[in-house]
Amino acid sequence: MLNAVMFFFFAALALTSAILMVTRRNIVHGAVFLITTLLATAGIFLQLQAEFLFVVQIILYVGGIMVLFVFVIMLVNLDVSLHLVQFNRQRFVAGVLAVVLAAQVLGAFWVGRASLGPGAKQVMEPKNTEAVGQALFQRYMLPFEIASILLLVAMIGAVVMAKRRV
């Protein structure tokens, strides 16, 4: 019962603020609504007992990436852009295409639902952070190192791109 209440609260919050993020005229408001969506997703992670991802989502996504977005919006935002048309000319075609895509995924889900299986019998172990750390530094050691190289490349790329004279 409590699980259902938590799920529907966070799902409704995430969906509402996602729709508002896409449709708002002011992109600063859009960024704030995206932050709300990400926080609601963090709540859903917590409800799924993924505590480590809950913390990572809040610290890294909301505290890191979204602050970067807001900074760039402040640097780039022009007041004139508030009075322009916000959607491009292909919006109706794009809307129809998105609905078709969603229907396709829904159809695939409907067909594949039967073969999904009953799921695992065992419950997740309660020490989530310890389990994530064990998996990350044993089975997924090489992807972890590659991810660190990716971050280094992205850091150098961002510095070069944002430099005043290239």
Binding site: N3, V22, A50, L53, V76, N88, A98, G119, G157, V159
Partner: protein
């Protein structure tokens, strides 16, 4: 409903699909490049919900590891993408996608 799951897995998949579709609509219809980039973040976030739900469904932690890698990827993508937007804004004073047509004849 399965013993370990707090909700049926269908609920998480449908929520993820809805968020994904909203993100696709945002990328395809908005003119502002920053909003398009934020919609891409929304899409990646929807995928993360799927991964964590299946991680719980199978009782294995691997899906959460993949979600961590996706968050890393989103951070790298946001840093480089926003750098490109800043560089473009310095040169052309616009952030609208349909005015970025220098390669068009």
């Amino acid at each position: 409903m399965q013993a370990g799951m707090p909700m049926p897995i269908d609920a998480y998949l449908l929520l993820s699909l809805a968020l994904f579709t909203i993100g696709v609509v945002g990328v395809l219809t908005r003119r502002n490049v920053i909003v398009m980039l934020m919609s891409i973040e929304l899409i990646l976030n929807a995928v993360n919900i799927n991964l964590v739900a299946f991680s719980r469904y199978w009782g294995a932690v691997d899906g959460q590891i993949f979600a961590i890698f996706i968050i890393t990827d989103a951070a790298a993508e946001a840093a480089v993408g926003l750098g490109i937007i800043l560089a473009f804004f310095r040169n052309r004073q616009t952030v609208l996608a349909d005015e970025m047509d220098m390669l068009r004849w």
